[in-house]
């Protein structure tokens, strides 16, 4: 049985074989560890993270 991340990728049209599924699960777990306690430090949702840089025709 493939992991949640493998199933997600397959649903998005990405092929995942059995060997890759094991490695992907392991790497996905490492990524989730990087997010540990993130919700305690992320500033409020109004903190603007993206800029809309306007282009003007000359």
């Amino acid at each position: 049985m493939k992991s949640a991340v493998s199933n997600l990728l397959i649903s998005m049209g990405v092929d995942v074989n059995e060997e890759e599924a094991i490695l992907l699960e392991s790497r996905w777990e490492e990524l989730q560890q990087l997010k540990k306690d993130l919700d305690q430090v992320i500033p409020n949702p109004a903190d603007i993270a993206l800029r809309n840089v306007v282009m003007k025709e000359k």
């Binding site: 991340v5 997600l8 990728l9 998005m12 049209g13 990405v14 092929d15 995942v16 890759e20 490695l23 992907l24 790497r27 996905w28 990524l31 990087l34 997010k35 993130l38 430090v41 992320i42 500033p43 903190d47 603007i48 993270a49 993206l50 840089v53 282009m55």
Partner: protein
């Protein structure tokens, strides 16, 4: 023993070329002869064209003789990372998928270098699509570290790092998304500068991650990095990420005087889990700069705790988008190591990506606050010495490099010693668009001659036969 021409720097060669003491043709031939003799061991070039390079050198020679001297780069042989478009020439970006790609225009930096009279000698190997730090390329073979051929040269600009270190090019350009100029600079014992984001146009450079990518010089000396930066910098209407900030005369900042300047040291992140020998050399470098009159202040940057989260999510989301079509239609044409990364990248959510941008904003604010009190930050470049080619512990090499990509701040790597026969890199990070300050700190430290003039041992033997 006097150096051969290919072993000299831009600043040493420029007056010789200008005064016609040396011909661009003999200089180019000196470089090509070394490539032919040495590169089968190192594998830094993916291709070189002797005939074309000599033709270009002859053109430069005619121009100089006719009084049309263009400046410090005129007649200088350079090879570039194979990630830059060169009009009418193949650029594979280290991949199988693009192995036959020919661009119909030059990258902006290539166009700028062409106008200076640079002599292009060829294209340099890289990690596939710049997505990795080893330059162990499955399609073009691994590039080997000139200091120890069993070790990686770093990446993704490993071909550039190795070629500069082995005098197979006088200088090069690399790209840096999570350390890909600075890591090979550290591993190969050369100078690598990642400028401020927006300082150098990326038009015509194949992207890894749009908001993290930078192009910068990889050189034998700090002065050469300053020279190259002067020529490649500037606003470009073709690259909307470039900024209309005047280009400084960076070489004019190189006084070597850092008396009274303040060096910041952040220890919780940059000195965590670093090889003790590397830390020893970096701390010795800090002591040496204190002896030159600089002061040291300990600083805190708490958001660095999430630097790797922000780097991974941003690079995955942006890089994953760039390769979204091909990973679905032809996954088998990606090398095994990056195939898994590109697949995983497709699963990154928009929430993950945008929270990563919020972390970046926090980091930028904290760095800006720190730079109100200090002039530069000093840190190790790599957490470990370059590992063996194929060693999977090479996976976290970018831990100290990614903050400068996330914040867009200028950062340089230069050698600060040797350990177990391998160079150790020192990183200097500065405020936005203050490359002159960063370069001057590097220049001041460089004058202590940390490598004592050493060159890779196997080259010392082979040099005798050239």
């Amino acid at each position: 023993m006097s150096k051969e021409l290919a072993q000299l720097s831009i600043s040493e060669l420029a007056p010789m070329l200008r005064e016609r003491e040396v011909s661009p043709v003999e200089l180019t031939q000196s470089v090509i002869n070394r490539v032919k003799a040495l590169d089968k061991e190192i594998n830094s070039y993916v291709e070189y064209n002797e005939e074309k390079a000599v033709e270009s050198a002859k053109k430069a020679e005619r121009e100089i003789i006719n009084g049309e001297y263009k400046g410090a780069l005129h007649g200088i042989p350079m090879a570039l990372k194979d990630i830059l478009h060169i009009k009418g020439e193949k650029s594979a970006f280290g991949s199988k998928i693009h192995k036959d790609f020919i661009s119909n225009e030059d990258a902006t930096v290539v166009s700028k270098l062409k106008s200076t009279g640079v002599v292009f000698t060829g294209k340099l190997n890289m990690h596939e699509y710049a997505w990795g730090g080893t330059t162990n390329n499955p399609h073009f073979g691994p590039t080997r570290n000139p200091w120890n051929l069993e070790k990686i040269p770093g990446g993704s600009s490993g071909g550039s790092g190795a070629a500069v270190a082995a005098d197979l090019t006088i200088a090069s350009l690399g790209t840096d998304t999570g350390g890909s100029i600075r890591m090979p600079a550290a591993a190969c014992g050369i100078v690598g500068l990642k400028p401020t984001h927006g300082r150098v146009s990326k038009s015509g450079c194949f992207p890894l991650s749009w908001s993290l990518d930078h192009i910068g010089p990889m050189t034998k000396t700090v002065e050469d990095a300053a020279i190259l930066l002067e020529y490649i910098s500037g606003y470009d209407a073709n690259d909307p990420t470039t900024v209309s900030v005047p280009v400084d005369q960076y070489t004019s900042y190189l006084t070597g005087d850092i008396k009274g300047k303040v060096i910041g040291i952040e220890e919780d992140y940059f000195f965590h889990n670093v090889d003790e020998k590397i830390e020893l050399f970096v701390r010795k470098a800090i002591d040496q700069m204190e002896a030159m009159g600089a002061k040291v202040e300990i600083v805190k940057i708490p958001s660095l705790k999430y630097a790797q989260f922000a780097e991974m999510m941003t690079c995955y989301a942006e890089g994953g988008t760039i390769h979204a079509k091909n990973i679905r239609e032809r996954p088998e044409d990606f090398g095994e190591d990056i195939r898994l990364d590109v697949k995983l990248a497709q699963a990154i959510s928009s929430t993950d990506y945008l929270q990563a941008q919020q972390v970046r904003n926090m980091m930028k604010r904290e760095f800006a606050k720190v730079f109100e009190k200090v002039d530069v930050l000093l840190a190790p470049m790599l957490p470990i010495l370059p590992p063996d080619i194929g060693d999977l512990s090479a996976n976290n090499l970018g831990v100290f490099s990614c903050p400068a990509n996330l914040t867009g701040l200028p950062a340089i790597s230069l050698p600060c010693g040797m350990s177990e026969g391998l160079p150790v890199g020192l990183q200097i990070i500065g405020p936005a668009f203050e490359e002159g300050k960063v370069l001057n700190f590097a220049y001041a430290y460089e004058k202590t001659n940390p490598l004592k003039g050493m060159k890779p041992p196997f080259l010392m033997e082979l040099n005798k036969s050239l």
